[in-house]
């Protein structure tokens, strides 16, 4: 087991890019490898040690034996854990854009907020954010129609707009509230939101399921009432309580399921 601790000592105005510092790349690095490493900052590179104090303990045979701990406010550190396939990263602070993007395995925990594009195009592994995130969490790359396809995102705070855009697999759990168009263009996979949702979940969804335990502001016109279900089972997962089930988005002949907590959304009954 190898523990790599990076403690922030100077926050850069321009974001640092951390996609080269993932367990897959650094599992066999010694302390001096980190000390010699130049991290991309904008269109240049600077020594990592300009920004972080370093500690490296133990050894690893592969990425799965690596634990990276980022101490401090990493709100200007982009691409944390981007493309990682194994191992663990813990951020004790905020994370900037694209945290956990394209990850295929391993686990990232952010003990703070994450900026937009967290978990973009995720294929596997686990991303847990103790705070909130902003737009396009668990989404596709801009322009693409292929989004997150596997793995699990758990968000203890709130989610921004277009959560799980183009989702084609995997699971997203939001403990807090969520802004517009969760699951837009989704074709498969599961989104659960425990808090309130402003409006339009599932816009243009073709398939997959969205479950909302809070109150929904505005339902999209493309969703038609299907039935009232008690203790539904969705994708092999059991839920207790009464839900109003809709099917949509009929604008695209969608067969997606939208489950609204009946108690919280009584006026829709």
């Amino acid at each position: 087991m190898k523990t790599i601790t990076l403690t922030l000592k100077k926050k850069s105005q321009i974001a640092l890019e951390f996609d080269e510092l993932i367990p897959d790349e650094v599992f066999d690095w010694e302390k001096d490898d980190f000390e010699n490493y130049q991290v991309p900052v904008g269109n240049k590179r600077f020594p990592l040690t300009d920004y972080f104090d370093l500690e490296v303990e133990g050894t690893a045979e592969g990425p799965e034996e690596v634990k990276m701990i980022l101490e401090g406010d990493c709100g200007r550190v982009k691409y944390i854990g981007c493309k990682m396939s194994a191992g663990e990263i813990i951020v004790n602070g905020d994370a900037d854009l694209h945290c956990g993007a394209e990850m295929t395995g391993g686990k990232i925990t952010v003990n703070g907020d994450a900026e937009s594009y967290a978990g973009r195009e995720m294929k596997g592994g686990e991303l847990e954010i103790m705070g909130s995130t902003r737009e396009f969490c668990g989404c596709s790359y801009i322009g693409d129609w292929r989004g997150m396809s596997g793995g699990k995102i758990t968000l203890h705070g709130n989610a921004g707009k277009q959560l799980g855009e183009c989702l084609s697999g995997g699971e997203i759990y939001v403990k807090g509230n969520c802004d517009i168009l969760a699951g837009i263009h989704m074709t498969k996979g599961f989104i659960q939101i425990d808090g309130d949702v402003t409006r339009w979940p599932g816009g243009q969804m073709k398939n997959g399921n969205i479950l909302i335990n809070g109150k929904l502001g505005i339902l999209l016109e493309g969703f038609v009432f299907d039935k009232i279900v008690k203790d539904p089972e969705i994708d092999g997962k059991s839920f207790s309580g009464k839900y109003i089930k809709y099917t949509g988005d009929i604008a695209l002949n969608g067969k997606g399921g939208l489950y609204l907590n009946a108690e919280k959304n009584r006026e829709l009954l």
Binding site: S140, Y141, I142, G143, D144, W145
Partner: protein, 569 residues
């Protein structure tokens, strides 16, 4: 500066040199037959030497490309490189950035490419992009097949008016020749429709593709343009479309050729998309045999293939209704544009996969055409970049053409589905191209088809546009070593352009501005003047731009190569 490329094995089909060990010399940018003892020696012992490649049909500059890049950032992120001392950073796979386009052609040993669809209204912008593409000269073909003036005069049989209009518009747009895309069909798309076959009239104008093709061909020959009409026929991609294709070729057969530089009077582009039999995608069969037979029997025809490369790519064409059909088929994002009195266009991403029966079938039809057309001077290597795949796959296609074993292997191990041999004759074709035939379909034939008098051959006086590939033809068995063929043709040992070494060992070592090739017709001034008087009232009434802002001024072509033509000679 004098150079001597020493001891290479030369393939120069225009001069009937097929794998001869000889030196190639050049001085001050031109091929020469001797140099002084001061000449710098480049040792290319036993390496393949050819004229630089010429791509007769691709989409590399213009508004379609820009819209493609804007709406496909997911394509731009592929192929990203960091800048070097010589090159800017690159981006894109199917729609590379302008600099990347130049570098990538250069690395393959190419020196010239045709931009095959320039809407006259967007000509300025097309030339701006050409200026941003280094290292490879660009020949833009303006679109005329759905132009309102042309449609009107074709209906009335006014060939001289059309000739004068073309003569004038080649000057106005700085264009090289006549491009026709889905004649009458794109105009019909302005009314929400399309035309089927060559005798289905366009709405309002009530003129048919047959009439438009014949009129433009007659005008082309009246002017004696270096290139023939360049035709993307009706019914692209439709099962059962091969009769339309043959009708298109046949309908201009009697028109007499006036330019001595070329043999053909019609160039059929991306023939693969136009060689399908059957009635629907359920019962589709290859029509390649019929199209190839026709071409084998008719010397007034040349073609390029538009080979499917089995990649995710971006389709973009002035065939607006076809792109809408494609979007309905694959459900992916669609861009559409109407170009006022001239044409239209559409863009849709497309994934050609060896796992899909239709893609596998199309892949095989393209290869059938290459293998069934007997005379390599009648067929050129293209992918209709980026429509059937990106041009960076040419080396791979070369490896397929040179190896029947590789093709069989792809069918056997399911890299392509069974439709590749059950719906086509590919499985029975065991022809293997040799290096001389490859040199013909990638340089000599395109040069001849375009009537180029300065490139495509290693003749003294011609531009020193030369490619050297790191292959010993006496050593390698292309049938057994397709990967080595692909690697060598993708990474030129030397690419020499106008006597300057631009690529060495697969790396771009020098960046130079590209030239723009266009045609200036002389001796038709009176007719041009008369026709402009007819054109201007309509122009002023319907165009959204003023004529003063329409013309491509000289500063848009800082490095022009002008082919001067005496009308009718």
């Amino acid at each position: 500066m004098e150079y001597i490329l020493k001891n290479g094995i030369v393939y120069d089909p225009a001069n009937n040199i097929a794998g001869e060990k000889k030196d190639v010399m050049f001085k001050d940018g031109k091929i020469v037959d001797n140099v002084s003892s001061d000449a710098k020696v480049l040792d290319v012992t036993d390496k393949i030497v050819m004229p630089a490649g010429i791509d007769p049909h691709a989409h590399v500059a213009g508004p379609k490309l820009v819209v493609g890049r804007i709406y496909r950032p997911e394509d731009s992120r592929k192929g990203v490189t960091t800048k070097t001392d010589v090159c800017r950073s690159e981006s894109g796979f199917s729609i590379p950035s302008c600099p990347a386009t130049g570098y990538r052609y250069s690395r393959m040993g190419y020196g010239t490419v045709t931009e095959a669809a320039m809407p006259p209204l967007e000509a300025k912008h097309t030339h701006e992009e050409i200026m941003a593409i280094p290292n490879v000269d660009v020949t833009p073909l303006p679109l005329f097949g759905n132009n309102w003036f042309v449609l009107q005069w074709a209906k009335e049989g006014k060939i001289e008016e059309i000739a004068a209009f073309i003569s004038s518009w080649l000057k106005i747009t700085k264009g090289y020749g006549i491009k026709i895309v889905n004649p009458c069909g794109t105009e019909a798309w302005g009314w929400g429709g399309n035309v089927h076959g060559i005798d289905d009239p366009a709405p309002y104008f009530d003129v048919t593709a047959r009439e438009v093709l014949r009129a433009l061909s007659q005008a082309n020959e009246m002017l004696g343009l270096p290139h023939s009409i360049h035709v993307h026929p009706n019914d692209l991609g439709h099962p059962g479309n091969f009769p339309t294709t043959i009708n298109t070729l046949e309908c201009v057969k009697d028109i007499e050729k006036s330019s001595g530089m070329r043999d053909q009077t019609i160039h059929l582009t991306h023939a693969q998309f136009h060689s399908y039999a059957g009635t629907s995608w359920r019962d589709v069969e290859s029509g390649a045999t019929e199209v190839a037979d026709y071409i084998n029997k008719n010397k007034h025809v040349t073609c390029d293939v538009g080979q499917i490369t089995l990649d995710e790519t971006t389709t973009m064409t002035a065939d607006g209704p076809m792109e809408f059909d494609l979007h309905q088929l694959n459900g992916l994002k669609w861009a559409n544009k109407d170009i006022e009195l001239e044409t239209g266009s559409g863009i849709v991403p497309f994934i050609y996969s060896g796992k899909a029966p239709v893609s596998s079938f199309q892949w095989a039809v393209g290869l059938e055409l290459f293998l069934l057309i007997k005379d390599p001077w009648q067929v050129c290597l293209t992918t209709d970049h980026p429509n059937a795949g990106p041009f960076i796959r040419y080396p791979r296609i070369i490896s397929w053409l040179m190896s029947s074993e590789r093709r069989q292997e792809m069918m056997d191990n399911l890299e392509v589905r069974v439709w590749s041999y059950k719906r086509t004759s590919l499985g029975s074709l065991d022809r293997d191209y040799d290096f001389n035939e490859i040199a013909t379909i990638t340089r000599a034939a395109p040069a001849k088809i375009y009537g180029y008098q300065d490139r495509g051959e290693l003749t003294p006086g011609y531009n020193a546009d030369i490619a050297v590939y790191d292959l010993n033809p006496n050593d390698i068995d292309p049938i057994k070593e397709p990967a080595a063929i692909e690697k060598a043709f993708g990474n030129a040992m030397y690419t020499i352009k106008d006597g300057q070494i631009l690529v060495k060992d697969g790396e771009v070592v020098k960046v130079v501005p590209s030239h723009t090739l266009w045609t200036n017709v002389n001796g038709f001034e009176e007719q041009e003047k008369a026709v402009m008087e007819q054109v201007m009232p309509t122009f002023n009434r319907f165009y959204t731009v003023k004529f003063e802002n329409y013309k491509v001024h000289d500063h848009f072509t800082p490095y022009p190569i002008v082919t001067e033509v005496q009308a009718g000679k």
